[in-house]
């Protein structure tokens, strides 16, 4: 056989085989494509985190057995900007809002005009079992569950053991604001609080007023013109006294007027740190800084934690409550699947994993039984206890006005006058709500 013929016959089979393989692969790919195309895609609008929500989305997509696919879409950094974007999209009837990570105070504003798809009863039952009270309250509007609690955050009182000891404070017992202010002053140290004009100021003022036995809004479900505020009260004055003392006496440090949670942490980690109210993220952040060598290892040993300080020694503290709930847009084309996906997302296993990997505490107490949590967060029990004590911010459709009104009048802390600021704030907010004043 001539060389070229042998070559031909040997290779003639190859194209045939190749064609066969190509066709088979093509068929497989095509069938795969069509299958993938048939799987409904759910868009989950997430707040920025360390990738935990994207990981849960992947896990739930895999667990769904092809019933749905979850794609995540990132929202802006701060809660106020997230609210703005979601509100605009919901008002425009955007059907891509299948699942949304929502900050609790903004939920009534979205629930009131019917922007959220109702939570099916069976889903509501299953997803609220073992959920802490504060997180459950934040997920409701007019006594009805309108979102599903996902994770719940709370602020603790972090302290430098050395400073507390030197000041003679017994940190095994609940402490008051007055005690920590006195202790910091006696040791010539700074208190870590958030004094900037931002949402953190509302968080602080709300916690102080609630702990003093009052409420910022007395009838949060009332229409704008009928809202009654509890600012001009004994609790409001006590709260203003604490804020103004910290501002006036320089206890919050020179940067207090622009201090957010991150700067509070940096102040606390420094040589002048004493006590700080802040979210649990400070623990992994401090550990990472120590591991990176930017902070001394002894600092970790010197940090202690307990529940939020009290306003009155005889009344329990009302720690700030944060976190994220999950809602479904009313215009979503797959509300049933979205709630199915939400059930997967908020499972105790996913909440525990999210806490360990991203530092955001579960709202479901069952999740705390994961043994890895105690190892990663030795303060997990305190967090859980704090969640049980915590008080949500006012649940009202006019939260934005109330919050900005507070921020404008209570920041910087040094400008707060206990005798007049609470009343002036109340008058200002009410004028804004009645449409008589600009915010």
């Amino acid at each position: 056989m001539p060389q070229h013929e042998r070559f031909d016959s040997r290779n003639r089979k190859k194209p045939r085989a190749l064609t066969g393989v190509t066709l088979a692969l093509g068929a497989m790919l095509l069938s795969g494509c069509s299958e993938a195309e048939n799987v409904p895609t759910l868009t989950w609008y997430i707040n920025p985190d360390d990738g935990g929500q994207a990981a849960i989305a992947e896990r739930c997509t895999a667990d769904s057995g092809g019933a749905y696919r979850i794609e995540t879409s990132l929202l802006p950094n701060d809660a106020a900007s997230q609210r703005e974007q979601l509100a605009r999209r919901l008002a425009a009837g955007d059907s891509s809002l299948d699942i949304m990570s929502l900050d609790p105070p903004f939920i009534p504003e979205l629930a009131e005009p019917g922007f959220l798809a109702p939570v099916p009863e069976d889903v509501a039952q299953r997803t609220t079992e073992n959920v802490v009270e504060g997180a459950l309250a934040g997920a409701q509007w007019k006594d009805e569950l309108v979102t599903v609690p996902f994770w719940a955050n709370t602020q603790l009182l972090w302290y430098r053991k050395s400073v507390a000891e030197a000041a003679g404070l017994d940190m095994s017992q609940p402490v008051t604001w007055q005690q920590i202010m006195d202790a910091a002053a006696s040791q010539d140290k700074f208190l870590g609080v958030q004094g900037q004009r931002g949402e953190s100021m509302t968080v602080w003022v709300n916690a102080l007023i609630e702990s003093g036995g009052g409420q910022i809004i007395q009838n949060p479900e009332a229409p704008a013109a009928e809202v009654e505020l509890g600012l001009a009260s004994e609790a409001g004055t006590k709260a203003a006294e604490i804020v103004s003392t910290i501002g006036d006496e320089g206890l919050g440090g020179p940067g207090l007027a622009t201090q957010d949670e991150n700067f509070s942490m940096i102040l606390f980690q420094g040589d002048n740190g004493s006590f700080m109210v802040n979210w649990p993220f400070v623990w992994p952040a401090t550990n990472s800084a120590v591991e990176a060598g930017s902070l001394d290892e002894e600092l970790i040993e010197d940090i202690g934690w307990t529940t939020y300080p009290r306003v009155d020694e005889n009344e329990p503290a009302a720690p700030p409550l944060g976190g994220i709930n999950l809602g479904v847009g009313a215009a979503s084309q797959h509300p049933d699947l979205a709630y199915q996906a939400i059930e997967c997302i908020v499972s105790p296993e996913n909440q525990a994993e999210y806490f360990i990997t991203n530092g955001n505490p579960p709202s479901n107490t069952a999740a705390y039984e994961d043994p890895r949590i105690e190892e990663a967060f030795p303060m997990a029990d305190t967090i859980r206890e704090s969640l049980e004590l915590s008080a949500p911010r006012p649940q009202t459709p006019y939260y934005n006005e109330v919050s900005i009104g507070l921020q404008q009048n209570w920041a910087p802390p040094g400008s707060v006058v206990p005798a007049t600021t609470p009343e002036q704030t109340a008058e200002f907010i009410l004028a804004v709500l009645r449409g008589e004043s600009l915010l």
Binding site: R197, P254, P412, L438, L439
Partner: protein, 320 residues
């Protein structure tokens, strides 16, 4: 132009006949002009005129985005609330203050820079222009963050320099007071825009005939006399363009204020007020009214500046 030519010299019958085909051609050119400008005109109508008209319409309603069912016609009610509110006048005052201070300082510094560049050797002039324009090339948001962190109390390097200045509190928190915040906001604005103004003024300087300044010099005019009687009057057109451009830009300042103070401590400007009312509060009616008032303010600035501009142009021509 063509009209003035025709009217200035009465046309004879022959000229009229000759002008006929020209007029036809002009008509055709005009039609072509409209045809070519048409798409741009439609786009302008859609993206500029429509939102303005819609905003003016929305401003007559009590309309909140999250309560569409409660939308109610209230006529000029929103305007009444705004114009009787201290916040509007305070924000207008802050906006005007920023506009006046930045425009004046930018003009002075820009003119000094333009003089340096004008006198510089030809070989380095291009390099100077490029180097000077760098701040203008930086995105405003980025420069605002750079200035914010430079003056930040915790880590700001410029803030640390001030520790050495006698009479300044070493723990001065620049963004916790009205005047200190406004100082940084305006400094950032001036730093960013002065180079551009200097280039505009450099172009104006180039228009001043050298013979005039040389003649003045020969006649014994001092530096100040040459500047005030020869150079500046001949640069009026360039100066007015710079003033108009910058006044409009500074009046609409947003990024620097939003990033550095977010309007805290009495540093809020009108554009931020419009943003917060419409976007943060979702009060479409009230926010639209603020936007319409802001638009009217901008129109007023344009009107005043164009009036001045026309007078000065005539003056500039007359002086030549």
């Amino acid at each position: 132009m063509s009209t003035s030519v025709k009217t200035s010299s009465p046309a004879t019958g022959k000229q009229k006949r000759a002008a006929q085909p020209y007029s036809e051609r002009a008509k055709g050119e005009r039609r072509l002009g409209w045809l070519l400008a048409g798409p741009a005109f439609v786009v302008m109508l859609a993206v500029t005129a429509y939102p303005i008209v819609q905003a003016a319409y929305d401003s007559l309603f009590n309309y909140r985005l999250t309560a569409p069912s409660e939308r109610e016609f209230i006529g000029l009610g929103n305007y009444g609330v705004i114009l009787t509110d201290f916040v509007w006048w305070r924000d207008l005052g802050v906006t005007l203050l920023i506009t006046v201070v930045t425009v004046v300082v930018e003009l002075i510094l820009g003119f000094a820079l333009a003089l340096v560049m004008h006198k510089a050797l030809k070989s380095v002039r291009g390099l100077l222009r490029t180097a000077i324009l760098v701040p203008y090339g930086i995105i405003t948001v980025v420069s605002a963050f750079a200035w914010f962190y430079a003056f930040d109390i915790n880590s700001g390097y410029i803030n640390n320099w001030f520790n050495w200045v006698p009479g300044i509190d070493p723990d001065l928190n620049w963004f916790a007071g009205t005047w200190s915040s406004l100082f940084v906001i305006m400094a950032s604005e001036i730093w960013k825009t002065t180079p551009f103004i200097s280039l505009l003024l450099l172009a104006g300087l180039a228009q001043v005939p050298d013979e005039l300044t040389e003649a003045a010099e020969v006649d014994g005019a001092t530096w100040w006399e040459r500047m005030s009687r020869v150079i500046l009057p001949n640069m009026k057109a360039a100066i007015m363009v710079a003033v108009l451009f910058r006044a409009l830009d500074a009046f609409r300042i947003f990024d620097n204020v939003f990033i550095m103070t977010n309007g805290a401590f009495g540093t809020e400007v009108l554009s931020l007020l419009a943003y917060r009312t419409s976007i943060s509060r979702l009060e479409i009616g009230m926010g639209s009214a603020v936007s319409v008032l802001l638009f009217i303010c901008v129109l007023l600035i344009c009107f005043i500046a164009i009036k001045l501009f026309k007078v000065d142009l005539a003056g500039a021509r007359g002086s030549k």
